[in-house]
């Protein structure tokens, strides 16, 4: 295995693989900057270029591109409140308020460091897990998926701040909107009003663009001025302060990375869940005296970023070991591997172990490269937040519409972005949690599908499976704590 590890490293640095990886990293970062063009869309765009490459170059190019897209999306989420894709919306919750305080550099530094270290963590876990993959992947079934999704729904309570009622309403609305379209088991078309576009449901990308990007741009145009309105008396901290913050909050980094890897390993749950779960668990463990989550707490940036890149290593596990893609991006990657002659499965874990480690090393090196590149650009990029919003906003809105349209090449996606933009704008003005609504949108179908599968396969007693039961206990503890915490805080304040 050590020999395969070393051979994999040599393969990554060989020519032309290292050249293709570098191109992939730059391209992935650029695509990440564009809202809506992240993850699967980026991979689908570059896939044809890999057909004529040898297997090592194709792996380096595709994984190099894919693994850094989220980094680019995080930068726009922090700078402009425009998430590049679903996972970046979790970073936006605290990242954008930091930019509004003039601390965009610090937020970017923290995001990149957390992302790089989380990615490294995921890579190490991937390398260590290779010998023992099969039992881990097979232990998760529909009951466990269902309970993980419910756990994500329970975390809604932590995203609703002072007004749980508004948070729950936002989450319920998101869950219901996710059910629009063709029902998965019987095929009934629900809430479609005979509109063909709605048969496929409401897509996540235009929803994210509308709820966050367009709503923020309208708010910026309304308020006038620039995005950043720093407190003049406070000295602004730069990206290296953010990097130091990640090491200071190493416990959040480790917990979020573990969560990201575990969620990534489970096929079908998706990366968005990992980021929001990580954010939720960080918010649950907020210490007294810290900046409130949602108002510019640096841990609110560290947690989702660490989980976001850690899950990439985890998501490769079922893809290369069993040919079971963990997400849309992995499905495209799997297709690409098959085209260039790499067959996932036992071969990749035995005779072609060096290729597997090529993927591992590519992940690690691409993440580090992206972090270094963006850190060098962090200061000039953060100056964009001081531009006049009335010039920046129309450009960003145009980019958002391009990103929304590129989801399915349909103007229906632009309409969805506008409608959800109006709703998102009102939610922002009235302190409803848009993150809770987005989480509901992401989890609704997962909850329904896995509930019915669980009942069909295991009967009503599916909840008694050990891991599912463990997740029930965690969900109850989280719920109980979110109600108990304010009561204890008030009691402590009265006693003080």
């Amino acid at each position: 295995m050590i020999e395969a590890l070393w051979d994999g490293l040599i393969l990554v640095f060989s020519w032309p693989a290292i050249g293709y990886m570098s191109i992939g990293v730059l391209f992935g970062l650029f695509m990440g900057f564009t809202p809506g063009i992240g993850g699967p869309v980026t991979l689908a765009l570059v896939l044809p270029f890999s057909f004529n490459m040898d297997e090592v170059s194709a792996i380096a190019f595709l994984i190099g591109t894919h693994s850094v897209v989220n980094n680019g999306g995080s930068v726009t989420a922090i700078l402009f409140g425009v998430p590049g894709s679903g996972p970046n919306a979790a970073t936006l919750i605290d990242g954008f308020p930091l930019a509004q305080k003039g601390e965009a550099g610090r937020a970017i530094g923290a995001a990149l460091a957390a992302s790089a270290l989380g990615g490294l963590f995921g890579t190490v876990v991937l390398a260590c897990l290779i010998p023992i993959l099969r039992p881990i992947v097979l232990v998760f079934g529909p009951p466990e998926f269902f309970m993980l999704a419910i756990l994500g729904v329970v975390f809604l309570a932590t995203l609703s701040g002072d007004n749980p009622l508004k948070g729950v309403l936002a989450g319920l609305l998101g869950l219901l909107i996710s059910l629009i379209g063709e029902e998965l088991i019987v095929g009934t078309k629900r809430y479609t009003f005979d509109i063909i576009y709605l048969w496929d449901g409401i897509k996540l990308v235009p929803s994210v663009i509308g709820l966050f990007a367009i709503a923020e741009m309208v708010d910026l145009l309304l308020k006038g001025g620039s995005i950043a309105k720093p407190d003049k008396e406070r000295e602004l901290s730069g990206p290296w302060t953010g990097v130091v913050d990640v090491f200071r909050h190493w416990d959040i980094l480790v917990r979020s990375s573990i969560l990201g890897v575990v969620i990534g390993i489970i096929p079908g749950l998706g990366g968005d869940v990992a980021c929001f779960l990580a954010y939720g668990q960080a918010a649950q463990t907020a210490k007294k005296g810290e900046v409130e989550y949602g108002k510019g707490n640096i841990c609110g940036v560290i947690a989702p970023e660490a989980a976001s890149n850690a899950k990439e290593g985890g998501a490769l596990v079922p893809t290369i070991a069993f040919g079971i893609p963990g997400s849309g991006s992995m499905a495209i990657l799997l297709g690409a591997l098959l085209i260039v002659g790499v067959t996932p499965g036992a071969n990749l874990l035995n005779e072609q172990l060096d290729l597997t480690f090529t993927m591992v090393w590519t992940l690690a090196i691409a993440n580090l490269s992206a972090a270094v590149i963006i850190l060098m650009l962090a200061n000039p990029l953060s100056k964009l937040t001081f531009f006049d919003g009335s010039v920046l906003a129309p450009v960003i809105i145009s980019v958002c519409f391009i990103g929304a349209y590129m989801t399915t090449n349909s103007t229906g996606d632009i309409i969805v972005a506008i409608v959800l933009g109006i709703i998102g704008f009102m939610m922002k003005r009235l302190n409803f949690s848009r993150a809770a609504m987005l989480l509901g949108l992401v989890l609704g179908r997962i909850v329904e599908q896995n509930l019915f599968l669980s009942i069909r396969i295991f009967g009503a007693g599916f909840i008694y499976r050990p891991i599912a039961m463990g997740l029930v206990v965690i969900a109850l503890l989280v719920m109980g704590w979110s109600f108990l915490k304010p009561v204890l805080q008030r009691r402590n304040e009265k006693a003080a």
């Binding site: 009622l165 319920l172 629900r190 129309p394 809105i397 519409f401």
Partner: protein, 156 residues
């Protein structure tokens, strides 16, 4: 204005959840389980939220404008605020620009609508000069063309 927005949005939520309940009831047994499980509590909570908003609005209104005792033949003083505030007008204007952009994209395509939108918006909303507006619009359109049409070989 904020009170009216709170109540308006609360009414909107009640209508939306009611719609999910009423339409959901018409589906077969399996497809309606999860929608009704979510929408019925949602409707109840949204009605509760509407009630809260109305009570809060009345309480705030009483604190801001305590009603003086009136004589029987005195006419009540009318509301002094303009029918549509400046902020509301600005919000509507911004959304009209955005909807116009979407309509333009639908009927004329990206490559015509985006430069026209940017020039018009920067000139008439952001009050920039024709030179700056045209420069920004042209640069951005060129960037879109180079990235998507030349680089990615896709059409918008």
């Amino acid at each position: 204005m904020k009170r009216a927005e709170e109540i308006g949005f609360a009414v909107f939520l009640v209508i939306i959840f009611a719609m999910f309940v009423i339409l959901g009831w018409g589906y077969a047994e399996r497809p309606r389980i999860v929608p009704l499980t979510l929408s019925i509590p949602g409707l109840a909570l949204s009605v509760l939220h509407l009630g809260n908003s109305i009570v809060k609005a009345k309480r705030t209104a009483r604190k801001e404008h305590p009603v003086p005792a009136q004589k029987a033949d005195e006419k009540p003083v009318g509301d002094q605020q303009p029918a549509v505030s400046t902020e509301t007008r600005k919000i509507l204007e911004i959304w009209i620009w955005i909807i116009a952009l979407a309509l333009g994209i639908n009927f004329l395509g990206f490559m015509i609508t985006i430069p026209v939108f940017l020039v018009a918006f920067l000139r008439f909303f952001a009050k920039r000069s024709w030179k700056i507006s045209t420069l920004i619009a042209a640069s951005f359109t060129l960037a879109v063309y180079l990235v998507f049409y030349v680089g990615l070989r896709t059409t918008l």
